[in-house]
């Protein structure tokens, strides 16, 4: 570092004697330090990648089974005396028969068909036999009969949902040993399930209902689905798309192209970058205080969720849009102004179309962020248990609904371990949505990006 001669002592002296081809101890130490430093970097990257792989594999391992469900196929005689006491097939009259009546019909069908198989399972009680189907099965049967009253009196081949524990047995979650200790399922039921599966009556197949069904109560994990949650999430994304994108793009155009450099625009800019770093739960508090308590909008409505997420994604969209506008070279603007366009024309006719790919990419990333956001939605009541599908937009935006990430949270709060499978399954669906959006963003960037 300086022109001063190094003191000729110790290692420095030793170095002058050695050959250049043979590393002395100091060089070796420096090279070792170099190698170590590199190894730290590689380790850091490896840890990050391993964490990602571990995270994804556990989620997929836990959740893949949510897409398969066990069904029991049995012939059910729809006894007209129980289901249609008046005998006139009038839906209004028939809807007075509660789910309980359908449960009796199902139980009778179960006893009959399982009795006819002449299985020999010691200690199998009648309650055990009836308990292998889901509590939701009778409600589903009732719905089906009310939709098609002509079924009454016939014998139909039904695919009945099986109890969550029996379903868990075929997915490896429930074992004989755990059934001994479980008050909800007995080993005899598992033996019966085995026997039925052997005869091909009990089949585990693809679970379409998981995607389309609404949520189900604590006791019926086998019937729980993410239908309402998907609709709620889609509605919120629509609100975000229709509000955040125009507002965000307009705000960025003003700030980037028109705003004079003064105090006020400076405040707006600092404000936006701060807003981008405000914790998401604070936006939830804002939504609760302003949209629900002050403006009186209904709780757990997608419109409120959409508004909160709009405010939350605005900074992301504004920052991305401004970067895209900044990337358009000034020569484009100068050329437009030079041939007589107004400032507004130069921006809207020339700069904006050229910045479009960047804006789209930023928008999609902002939407993806909003889709996965949970915390603010908890505060505006989206955790409520919702079984009814919301109506069509725009009125449906005010109906109660759930959202995918909130549904996941909801299921983690339940005691039955079968809900962990459901939660992981919902996450897989959520991640697939996010993956598609991100791939679209990458595609748009690759396809349309321009380097000036």
């Amino acid at each position: 570092m300086t022109d001063m001669p190094l003191p000729q002592t110790g290692r420095a002296g030793a170095r002058t004697k050695g050959s250049l081809l043979q590393a002395d101890s100091r060089t070796r130490r420096r090279n070792a330090a170099e190698k170590r430093f590199r190894a730290y970097g590689v380790t850091a990257i490896a840890i990050a990648i391993l964490a990602l792989v571990f995270l994804l594999t556990t989620i997929i391992r836990d959740g893949a089974s949510a897409f398969r469900q066990t069904y029991l196929s049995i012939p059910v005689t729809l006894d007209a005396e129980i289901l249609d006491p008046q005998g006139n097939r009038d839906v209004a009259e028939m809807s007075r028969v509660l789910t309980l009546g359908y449960g009796r019909v199902l139980d009778a069908a179960l006893d009959r068909s399982i009795g006819s198989l002449e299985l020999n399972i010691p200690g199998l009680s009648e309650g055990d036999v009836d308990g292998i189907v889901s509590r939701e099965a009778s409600a589903q049967l009732r719905q089906r009969v009310l939709n098609d009253p002509e079924l009454v009196g016939q014998t139909v081949e039904l695919n009945v949902l099986v109890n969550g524990r029996i379903d868990g047995y075929f997915k490896g979650r429930v074992t004989m040993a755990s059934a001994e200790r479980d008050s909800n399922v007995s080993p005899q039921q598992l033996l019966l399930a085995d026997a039925l599966a052997e005869r091909g009556l009990l089949v585990t197949r693809f679970n379409r209902e998981f995607i389309t069904n609404p949520d189900a109560s604590d006791q019926r994990p086998e019937a729980a689905g993410i239908g309402v949650a998907i609709i709620g999430s889609v509605y919120m994304m629509l609100v975000v798309l229709f509000l955040a994108v125009p507002i965000g793009v307009a705000a960025s155009i003003y700030l980037e192209e028109f705003a004079p450099k003064n105090r006020i625009t400076d405040i707006i800019e600092v404000n936006i970058s701060n807003l981008a770093a405000v914790p998401s739960i604070v936006f939830g508090i804002l939504g609760l205080a302003v949209f629900i308590n002050f403006a009186g909008l209904p709780q757990s409505a997608p419109i409120v969720g959409g508004l909160v997420l709009t405010l939350m994604t605005l900074p992301t969209i504004i920052i991305a849009t401004r970067a895209a506008l900044k990337a358009v070279p000034p020569s484009i603007r100068d050329a437009a102004l030079g041939v007589g366009a107004s400032k507004m024309q130069s921006v809207f006719h020339h700069v904006l179309p050229l910045a479009m790919p960047g804006i789209l990419t930023g928008t999609i990333i902002g939407l993806a962020q909003a889709l996965g956001e949970t915390a603010p939605l908890l505060l505006i009541g989206m955790v409520a248990f919702v079984r009814e599908y919301p109506g069509g937009p725009p009125e449906g935006l005010f109906d109660p609904a759930s959202a995918l990430p909130v549904q996941v949270y909801n299921w983690t709060q339940r005691s039955d371990p079968a809900f962990v499978e459901r939660a992981s399954g919902a996450i897989i669906v959520l991640l697939i949505f996010l993956l598609c959006m991100n791939l679209l963003a990458v595609y748009l960037r690759r396809r349309f990006e321009r380097r000036w």
Binding site: N31, A33, E34, F37, G41, A44, I45, I47, A48, I49, A51, L52, L55, T58, I59, I247, A250, A251, I253, Y254, L255, F258, I268, V270, N271, I272, S273, L275, A277, V278, S280, I281, V282, I285, L286, A289, V290, F294, A295, G296, L297, L311, L314, I318, S342, M344, L371, G372, T374, A375, L378, L379, P405, Y409, T412, V420, S424, L430, L431, L434
Partner: protein, 401 residues
Amino acid sequence: MPLSWALLASLALAAAGYMVGRSRAFASAGADSRTLHSRPTYHGMSVALLALIPALVIMVLGALARMTGLLSAEAGGVVGLLALGAAVIGLGIGVSRINAGFMARNAVEKIVLGFLIFCSTIAIATTLGIILSLVFETGNFFSQYDWRAFFFGTEFVPRFEGNSRLGVLPLLWGTLYISFIALLVAVPIGLFGAIYLSEYAGPRTRSLAKPVIEVLAGIPTIVYGLFALVTVGPMLRDAIAQPLGLGSSASSVMTAGLVMGIMLIPFVSSLSDDIINAVPQSLRDGALGLGSTPSETIKQVVLPAALPGIVGAVLLAASRAIGETMIVVLGAGAAATLSLNPFEAMTTITVKIVSQLTGDNDFSSPETLVAFALGLTLFVITLCLNIVALIIVRKYREQYE
């Protein structure tokens, strides 16, 4: 809904206004359309905007009045009619203004500029809304609960029957402890990862590893939360906490901190990556030319030069960690304890905000209002961290520009 009908009708009127305005403009120009000041489409647009804007303003005001209860729900029809009337009047004025000399383009551009300015003030309105709602409700809270007991209380025990103790200190401690562990995980990994990717890795490794790390940033926090709850928590409990006798709870400071650390890795690494890349190449060349090895260059030249920026990045990461909700809700537990044991369940400010504001409780009890005071505390802490970090990062950027 009469309002949506009124909206559709005024949209139709605006569309009609556009057509009429355009053809009137052509007609007023006579044979030579060059005599027009503005192109006919601008005339059409000015008529359409004049029809649409008053109607929209009336409808928005009406909707607001209905929400705040100033108007009954039946008044929707009256508002709709008023809006339609305004649209018709606007249309009439717009059409009557048209002649060859009318500066339609300037009029339209003025309106559009107004819209742009309005949109850019929404960010300020949001901030104001946050501050006002937090301060207002916090004021309510402190009128019912002593502020000294809130800021210096060492117990957080909300009770529905009243007489709750709502001290913020155990929550603050849990928040800071978890964030500290998260940073302990994220900062070394993120920083070394960024150094390796920007200084050592070839373009191929870089193009492979960078997107993979960015995937971590795209994963929603609820996924990390479930991961903490189902996988990491039980694993830590069975492997470390129980054998060592440190605790028997799956949700713990360690669980939440570790998972949050993983979540923050991409955040730290992408910020540090930008900052390291902003260090001028000449500094590196100088150090390398004097015979230092690459790692010596990084340790003694690049990192000291990038230090302010990295400090800023760490502060931003800390503010993220403090405000993070879902991971701690699912991974940290719900008991407010003041303890040093990282394998004990603790709770944070965000967890308590969620637990006090979800569920059935009325909005006047201190047990609910405390959530707003906690929210304000959280907002102030993260705001300070963000502002300091932004100032540092900005200063640092200017240094090398």
